[in-house]
Symmetry: C2
Subunit: 528 residues, 2 copies
């Protein structure tokens, strides 16, 4: 059986591996052709050397060249669309259309082109000039970035194609990608396209590199290596926290997206106004992609009433009759079952969907659990266990005060949402709940399910720990996501001819935004 | 002997302490009057409760009120100037004038007023509006901030008066200050002034709180408590790394300023041009305040030549004949001696000043060490030991290539400086060295000693680990320093009347900078 090569220093070569693994088609539960190497330290060490060299070369390069690389890569991805969609479908069971071909692939190329535009524009560096003191500063590249992509977005969050990749490259850093083990072939196709683009645009070898998997200790060594600038990780909490411990001890930034139950509160008035619409909206948001979104609404907080009972009844019927999707992998399926059991053992009642299987391949019945606010408050940590997949937990508060107590107990989440009546009758309750929810989430929504994460400059796909590792940063949204992979660089009394163009008196493009003596401006520094 | 009270929840009260300590006058080596409590967990727990309540209240408050508090506090400090200078002089032996009264105190009140202005202006929140998608985001307060101040700036970096305090408050967070044990009385005077200002401006109790010291395990528990937003720490590497381990494990941001040798490179041409001037400039920079600056030039890299020998000879003479300052404390004195010994045991030669004492109280002869580039490269980690105080290490490279190798081995530093000839003859060497140095430091300087840290919007008082905990942040410079204590808060589809004023269509002041659809602007969002 053919073993896929790793991509190191611009060369596809056989891994110095400690073993191999196979991908599996989750819809058929059958292994897919080919094997992938489990890289030992030697592969990582060589990749780090090449990345360090590439980082140095990229730092000397005008950002225009990085922009052209990213755009060429986006074109390459579009040229490989059919192969990518085909293989990703086989490896993840995500629908080819609209999901992979018409939603995720365009999102991926859009992100790359936005990062290219931001790199070209250079405003993201937040050039700050104190003309009196002749002190000037800007963000600059941090060094090689390791990206560990998640299982649920093989394109748009992929290790060598997704948001972290685009942000790291856009900020001028080479990337060492660690494929997600559930779609190694898709990641390889992206790496091939990326490497073709790198060669076509004459980027240094080591700009983009790929390994597929490492033993845990090797991964920990990788993210804490002195040659690394930072790491982006999206995945399970347990694996992420192990990497965090290693990176933290070495003083290496690591940006984690770990887990989130994304609480949604439906206030009594809005249920009276449009109960059936909301039941449909929630059901389709929660079951889309078999619920395998970071921003899936995994916890619905209701105030006990006849309407909340009717809502639960309606949703339960919809869940029971909706088609059952295929889960991304065996491990997702095991983990969903385990976590649903943890919730039930802690007192949650299963309203519907207490059975594995029911769909093609790895699957689980669409599951709804329920618990009273009082019981939730008796064991809030366990009751916030994320059951990643087509499931959600109703938490029924006795009254608004108990709902406030529930919000106070929440861990950090990516999103939090409050639905309220259009006629304003819920506004007093909204005003009590919103400040509590605000402090627990990165993105606060009104009247809208959190599942969609728009690629917007104002997006925050982040939030307080343990949703992410640092509440000040977002993983989606160009240019803000780029600043995660940047160092603040100050130039004090530097002779004018030695300043980076971006900090020179003359605005390098006439369009770049710079903060000059406290005023954002696209003008030159005025010589007074 | 009177035990000083702690300030918790707006009340000066007796600590629930596990012991006490005394301050000492380092110039006389005699204990000062009064004792200070070592707080156990109970004090911290109560302070955290009060801080959490204060954080909630501050979040609901217009930033104008925080600005007024900070300005009132600055006025209070000026009213207490004589007492502050007197006691700080007794506790630290720093000169009353110009240092404490004419430099550090004005710097302190300037920082507080700049933070007030930034809070009032609100541009620091980087309000970002996507008007099409109706997604809006900004930085907002993170929650209670613990500040552990250093020994060397009792005013300008003091726990309850300095840069971290101003930044945390300016961003809307209450502060729990942990005094530095070497100047607890000075810190208490500041806390008294802060509390008077808090009362005068009707701030919530718990806005400013003070403890003096904790056992190590209690400090670790404090920075990792769920009620904490973040911690700012400036001090020794060993104590800082212990706090970092605790905070990291809890997912709590901690901003550390640990240690830095601040390499300065003097190229051959500039030595030919003005050797004696440079010898004086370096000597006065290195011995100012007995060398007890975070940005003290602790490592001078020279290229072997007749000029470099002459420079070393001249500096050695100046060091031998310069007055010997008093060190900040017994522990600084012990640590200086220990670290000079570590350097010598590893092969550095002492050129002058190999003796403790010689000045008033705790002191050490002005010390110069020297090592060859080759020996440095044989043991680069040990040779970068910071000997905090009136000392510096010459590293003599055989040639420019060896100087490059030395830079490649450097740890992260706050600053790095290159002096080069005015006539341009050093420029080829500069061009080889500067990119290597750039990647190792937060602030790159030309032709200027690094000791001064201007309070400038473009300043970066930060740098790669282990100089600080994260190369993306600065501890000096308003408003950038404030963003360390902020969370990114996104508002997605929020009904207009519920948006924070700062994100409403109408610019709240007509002067606040906001990034609207990619353009920095002080205008309203235009309704299209």
């Amino acid at each position: 059986m053919t073993e896929s090569p790793v991509l190191i220093q611009g060369q596809w070569r056989k891994s110095k591996s400690s073993g191999t693994f196979q991908a599996e088609n989750p819809a058929t539960m059958q292994p897919l052709d080919g094997t992938y190497p489990i890289s030992g330290w030697e592969d990582c060490d060589e990749a780090l050397d090449a990345a360090a060299e590439a980082a140095h070369a990229l730092q000397q390069m005008p950002s225009e060249r990085i922009a052209i690389f990213l755009e060429t890569y986006a074109n390459q991805i579009e040229a490989s669309r059919d192969k990518l969609v085909e293989l990703a479908h086989a490896e993840t069971a995500l629908p080819k259309t609209p999901r992979l071909a018409d939603v995720e692939l365009p999102r991926t190329t859009t992100q790359l082109r936005l990062a290219a535009a931001a790199a070209r524009d250079n405003s993201w560096v937040q050039a700050t000039i104190d003309s009196q003191a002749n002190i000037r500063s800007m963000y600059g590249p941090l060094g090689p970035v390791c990206v560990f992509g998640p299982n649920n977005f093989p394109f748009a969050f992929g290790s060598i194609s997704g948001g972290d990749f685009a942000a790291a490259l856009g900020a001028g850093n080479p990337v060492i990608a660690k494929a997600n083990s559930s779609h190694p072939g898709t990641t390889r196709l992206f790496a091939e396209a990326a490497q073709r683009a790198a060669e076509e645009t004459d980027m240094p070898p080591g700009t983009v590199q790929l390994i597929y998997r490492t033993p845990h200790d090797v991964g920990a060594q990788l993210v804490s290596d002195p040659r690394v600038g930072a790491t982006g990780y999206t995945g399970s909490r347990s694996a992420g926290l192990k990497l965090k411990t290693a990176a933290d001890a070495a003083g290496k930034p690591i940006y984690l997206e770990l887990s989130s139950v994304n609480p949604v509160i439906l206030l009594p008035g809005v249920l009276r106004e449009r109960l059936e619409d909301l039941a449909s909206e929630f059901t389709s948001s929660c079951l889309m992609g078999a619920g395998q979104f970071c921003t899936n609404p995994g916890m619905i907080i209701l105030i006990q009433s006849a309407e909340s009972e009717a809502f639960i009844k309606s949703v339960s019927e919809k869940f029971a009759s909706a088609p059952i999707g295929t889960l991304l992998s065996k491990s997702v399926s095991i983990s969903l079952e385990t976590n649903l059991k943890i919730l039930q053992d802690a007192g949650a009642q299963c309203l519907t969907g207490n059975a594995s299987g029911g769909g093609a391949g790895y699957s689980h019945a669409n599951a709804l659990l329920s618990i009273s606010g009082k019981e939730f408050l008796g064991n809030p940590a366990t009751m916030q266990t994320e059951a990643f997949g087509n499931s959600s937990l109703f938490v029924i508060a006795e009254n608004i005060r108990e709902a406030c107590d529930i919000l106070t107990c929440l861990e950090g989440n990516l999103t939090g949402c409050i639905y309220s009546a259009a006629n304003g009758e819920d506004d007093p309750e909204y005003d009590r709940l919103a400040p509590l929810l605000r402090s627990k989430v990165g993105r606060l929504l009104n009247d809208k399910m959190p599942t969609g994460v728009a690629v917007s400059s104002a997006m925050n796909h982040g939030g307080p720990f343990p949703a992410t590792g640092h509440a000040g940063f977002t993983a989606v949204g160009i240019p803000a996501a780029m600043n995660r992979f940047a160092a603040l660089q100050c130039y004090d009394n530097i002779r004018p001819h030695r300043l980076p163009d971006l900090l020179a008196d003359k605005n390098p493009t006439g369009q770049m935004w710079r903060l000059i003596d406290g005023t954002w401006s696209t003008a030159d520094v005025s010589i007074s």
